[in-house]
């Protein structure tokens, strides 16, 4: 039995096609990531799998239960953390946890072992109202609430959006730990750097899954040589690079532009010279290995072929 199965799920909102023929399978105990920018359809997919929305077509199963027929059974066994902070802001940390434990017919004590690691981090603030917590603590509390009934499948819709880098790391450490408890986890994120921690990832854009791969497998498929190019004026650099006839692709990343060149006709030194000629200074051109984001950009650019 699979943890999660989605078969050709499509869903429209008016004329907008939020999901188009989405199919994938998640093994039990697998940490599966859905990576894609805002508006890719991630939340709609989560809502359909958590029985909150009905698909226009297609079918799905969670823990072997049909997402339409057996929705009550699914609701008893999954944990769901929506993308937006969805706890009671006027209740304290402790009250929130308690109410969700009661809603799931359990107590905090019963499954405390599961949430201990993360709850200990927010416990000093347990008398504080949830609305007054920082972004990272809010998400930790939300994760505790989603875990309090020891779900078999955990749906986390962008758990790290709006969270500081340290809390992001804490949350991901927690997910890796939960995997050891044999909990199936479906997690979505717009941050490509988090993808490396998943067992497998699905790249999503415009309601379609572009590719399903392991992070390592994805990087391996990126066969073109990749260069990180820097200079003092990065925005001018981007236009200059894109204007060069030998540049295949050029995308702006955090501190450098990632560039692929057309079939080895241009040497990096020549590119640097070209840029120097255009008045750039402090030019750096270094070879790098592809990240998930590079793969995503690459796939997204070629999506017509898919």
């Amino acid at each position: 039995m699979k943890g999660i199965v989605a078969q050709n799920i499509s869903r429209k909102f008016g004329r907008v096609e939020a999901l188009r023929n989405v199919s994938f399978e998640v093994n039990q105990g697998e940490l599966f990531g859905i990576i894609g920018p805002d508006g890719a359809g991630k939340t709609t997919l989560f809502r359909i799998l958590t029985t909150l929305l009905l698909a226009d077509s297609g079918a799905g199963e969670v823990d072997g239960f049909d997402i339409v027929k057996d929705f009550r059974k699914i609701r008893q066994r999954v944990g769901y953390m929506p993308g937006r902070f969805s706890l009671y802001q006027d209740l304290t940390v402790e009250e929130n946890l308690k109410i969700f434990a009661t809603v799931f017919n359990t107590t905090i004590e019963e499954n405390y072992g599961l949430i201990r690691d993360i709850y200990e981090q927010i416990e000093p603030f347990k008398k504080r109202r949830a609305g007054a917590l920082s972004g990272g603590m809010k998400q930790k509390l939300a994760l505790c609430c989603a875990l309090i009934h020891k779900p078999t499948v955990l749906f986390l819709d962008e758990p790290t959006t709006g969270v500081d880098p340290i809390s992001r790391r804490d949350l991901w450490e927690m997910l890796v730990k939960l995997k050891k408890e044999q909990i199936t986890i479906l997690v979505s994120t717009p941050y490509m750097d988090e993808a490396g921690l998943c067992d497998r990832i699905a790249l999503m854009q415009h309601g379609r899954l572009l590719k399903i791969e392991t992070p390592a497998g994805l990087a391996k498929q990126f066969t073109d040589a990749l260069w990180a190019v820097r200079s003092l004026s990065m925005s001018k650099l981007l236009t200059d690079l894109r204007r060069h006839p030998q540049v295949e692709t050029c995308y702006a990343f955090g501190d450098a532009h990632h560039v692929t060149l057309k079939a080895g006709l241009l040497k990096p030194e020549e590119l640097a010279a070209y840029l120097a000629g255009l008045g750039h200074s402090d030019i750096g051109v270094e070879p790098i290995t592809a990240t998930v984001e590079d793969c995503f950009m690459n796939l997204a650019a070629n999506k017509i072929e898919l």
Partner: protein
Amino acid sequence: MRCFTSWPARPGATELNMKQFKAFIRKEFYHIFRDPLTMAILFLLPILMLTLFGFAITTEVRNTKIAVYDPSKDAGTMAILNRMEASEFFEITRELSSPDDIESVFRQGRIGLLVVFSERFYENLVHTGEAQIQLLADGSDPNNASVVVNYATAIIAASQQELISRTGGAMPYQITPEVKLLYNPQMKGAYNFVPGVMGMIMMLICAMMTSVSIAREKELGTMEVLLVSPMKPIYVILAKAVPYFFMSVINLTTILLLSVFVLDVPIAGSLFWLIILSLIFIFVSLSLGILISSVVDKQLVALLISGMVLMLPVILLSGMMFPLENMPWLLRALSEIIPAKWFIMAVKKIMIKGLSYSSITRELLILGSMAVVLIAVSLKRFKTRLE
């Protein structure tokens, strides 16, 4: 692979679990007590409305200033004037020395009524059995004028009785026009608005607050989490209605206590039936609130709908402020489906007129069926998914 049976479904997970239900109601009370605005609406608004209608916006006539032209100054006129001065409605502020002042005293606009006695008033009354009093009121406010004249007529009639008895019944029998107002002899405004305010406040608290609080769960996303839980959505909704039911009962008590002890509106009929009637109306309002919340997702929209669709008709079409008899037939027909109209009608019968419960059978039946239909519709419309 992990064995499936090691994760048994919790027993009775889909049944109504009292512990869940209670925890949820407690949570709802936290929401209410922690939000100053909600608290203000729940507890201050009823008192505010009642006092506002009771003391500020009143149709009652009190301490009307009167001027007197009394050329006789005899036992008869004294008797009448003393009686007027003694009543809480009138206050004699001016005595005119000549009839020429009549117009100027009105033009100054400070008096509401002018009493003019004929000359040799008592003498004429005793000997001819006839004496004239002229009552002049300021017709620019016709309602007020007619009320003032009614009061004055009543006082004069009473004085006349006294004078008759003083002369030992020697006077010939006189027919005096007497205007008597049934049920509300002093035309107290409170008699009219207490039932109206009751209807408004019940509607406000039950329908508006319930629909807004359910919409809040949707708007803030908590409904999403609650839906993906073993708790049946309908119990989530019912648990939200329970606290507002309690609040309405508390408010009902406050309103009744205020009416009886502050506004001097007694409960003339059976308190038991008044409470039964109110409870049915509370159910109608609660189910209206739940119905509204099943179609809206935003607190503001819930507020607007309950305001426009519920409160306005209650104020305009329930007969609370404007008499329904004078309305065009379309509005009158529309008023038939306003629950508050029936409630207010029945409250007037039981509380003000003191009629027995058999007089409100029709209202009880109508409100009862409204409650059943609304609860059925809102349960049917209730969604187990997000849309």
